[in-house]
């Protein structure tokens, strides 16, 4: 299997048991009308991109469950025979978060959204590496999950944190010497779909910034 060495330029992670308190929304999205339309995944992604110092370029975004709040709003409207909010529907697609980033930053580059269940952030890392390899550019790789919906306890047995996100900016390095194999450095209780990128962020915190990624 082909392995490519990538350098992690910047990284960030955040999670909270229910709702992440401060996503610095007013500074990152000054226009209130746009801010009000953003999904929670979008706000977390914008926060993490800002933390990583990324303002444009290719994006690979991942989420196993996508925009649950918007989806629940639609199904609840249907079951109650009420009109569906057009905003809920347009926000319900899995690529809403990176699309809002693109809109707010005037980023006209490629966006790929991965949704591979528990392997979502692993596959996002592989895809971001491919995108960096074919373009020679830096790529934002980001994964978020927002499960904070009413009655989530009826189905949630997989995480202690209902809102979570992790991001890295990576680039290809030509020399794979001093590169590290991916290590299993998960954060306890975080949803599986984010754990592979969490491990990368934790490796960076230990000074292991150059890693080998299997395409």
């Amino acid at each position: 299997m082909k392995k490519i060495a990538v350098r992690i330029i910047s990284s960030a992670k955040i999670y909270a048991p229910v709702k992440i308190d401060n996503l610095d929304e007013k500074r990152i999205v000054p226009k209130m009308m746009i801010r009000r339309r953003l999904t929670r995944n979008s706000k977390i992604m914008l926060y993490l991109a800002d933390k990583c110092g990324f303002s444009g370029g290719k994006i690979v975004y991942a989420s196993a469950f996508g925009e649950l709040q918007a989806t629940v709003s639609i199904t609840d409207s249907i079951i109650s025979d009420l009109p569906i909010s057009p905003t809920s529907f347009q926000n319900s697609v899995y690529n809403s978060a990176p699309s809002y980033f693109s809109l707010l930053n005037g980023d006209k580059d490629e966006i790929i959204t991965i949704s591979s269940g528990r392997n979502s952030s692993r596959d996002a890392l592989k895809t971001a590496t491919l995108q960096a390899l074919v373009s020679g550019e830096r790529v934002l790789c980001v994964a978020t999950e927002c499960l904070d919906i009413d009655r989530i306890n009826e189905v949630n047995s997989c995480t202690k944190y209902l809102e979570s996100g992790v991001a890295i900016v990576l680039e290809i390095v030509q020399n794979s010497e001093n590169s590290y194999e991916l290590e299993n450095l998960k954060d306890d209780g975080v949803i599986d779909s984010l754990q592979d990128l969490i491990s990368v962020v934790n490796m960076c915190e230990l000074g292991k910034n150059t890693i080998l990624v299997e395409l």
Binding site: A64, F65, I84, S85, S99, E110, S115, L130
Partner: protein
Amino acid sequence: MNAYINSSELLCCAGDKDALMKAIYEKRTGVSIDTSYMSDTPVALGMMEYNDFYQLGIELVKKILDDSNLDDFHNTLLIVGSSVGGMRESEKSYFKKKNYKNIDPNKHAISVISDSLMEEFGFLDSRSISTACTSSANALLLAKRLINVEAYKNILVFGADALCYTTVCGFNALGVLSSKICRPFDKDRDGMNVAEAIAGVLVQNVKCKDSVELKGVGASSDAFHITNPDPEAKGAMKSMLDSMKDAGILAEQIDYINAHGTGTLANDNVESLAVQTLLPKTFISSTKAITGHTLGAAGALEAIISCEVIKRGLVPPQSSLQDAQNGEINLSKTSVKKDINYVISNSFAFGGNNTSLIFGVVK
């Protein structure tokens, strides 16, 4: 390494690959009027008959394997493109029980499709893409790049979306559904037909006697609006131009455009403008008046149509067209026999996500 499409099959409201191509050339739609989703609002939908959507996928993939040069898929990467994944089953459970207790999160997710195919065929690995209506087009984009960099030899791209209340009622809330068969590019068009489909495409690094090459891929973002396309068509043009650059060909070399062509006012205006600017003389048609808009499956489904158009040397007519709104693009109401070397297929999605794919004869 070059990427070749060596085997494919599909199922949509107009039937399988052969039935669909016959329907396209005969301008016979598979779309029908439905009141089961919204009893007081008839809408035209592209529906299939099945009991188990996932079993349908397994049977389709078996056909592709039988038709291929492979004994199994153990050395093949699976890339699935879908916009809703297991939403249909989640809805059924939620509407019946009015709670989430019987919903299996893993069967709600997009990855439920790849999970079922992995279990049946033991693929080398899998990943799932969900960029709304460009999902399986982006799966093909990644497949080409993975073959090009010699990461994989065989990749099965599988596009799949089942109809569900969320998509039918959601598009209705946006006011873009037609109660009639859609009329892409017509001046009197009044909306799209949501549809369901499955489509599988085997992409390999070797060619066989029936290969079509996946020659170029391009993608872009509008950065304009979350649902409406950029009226100046800059994003659409960028994805098309990037795909031509990747293919190493000029616009004049393209013989046919398989348009995204949903039949909505906004999409067709913008796509027409892009085509009028870049490829005004090239034959163009949308096959969505026959298949409906199959959402995340559309990219793979229309990739198969594009390959068949090359093999048959027959430009598909624009079905449902009476008077074109834009007289500066080359729509034909009848099939046109000609040598077809290159076809470009467009897919555009919510979020301003644009993908263009170029297919070419193997030389």
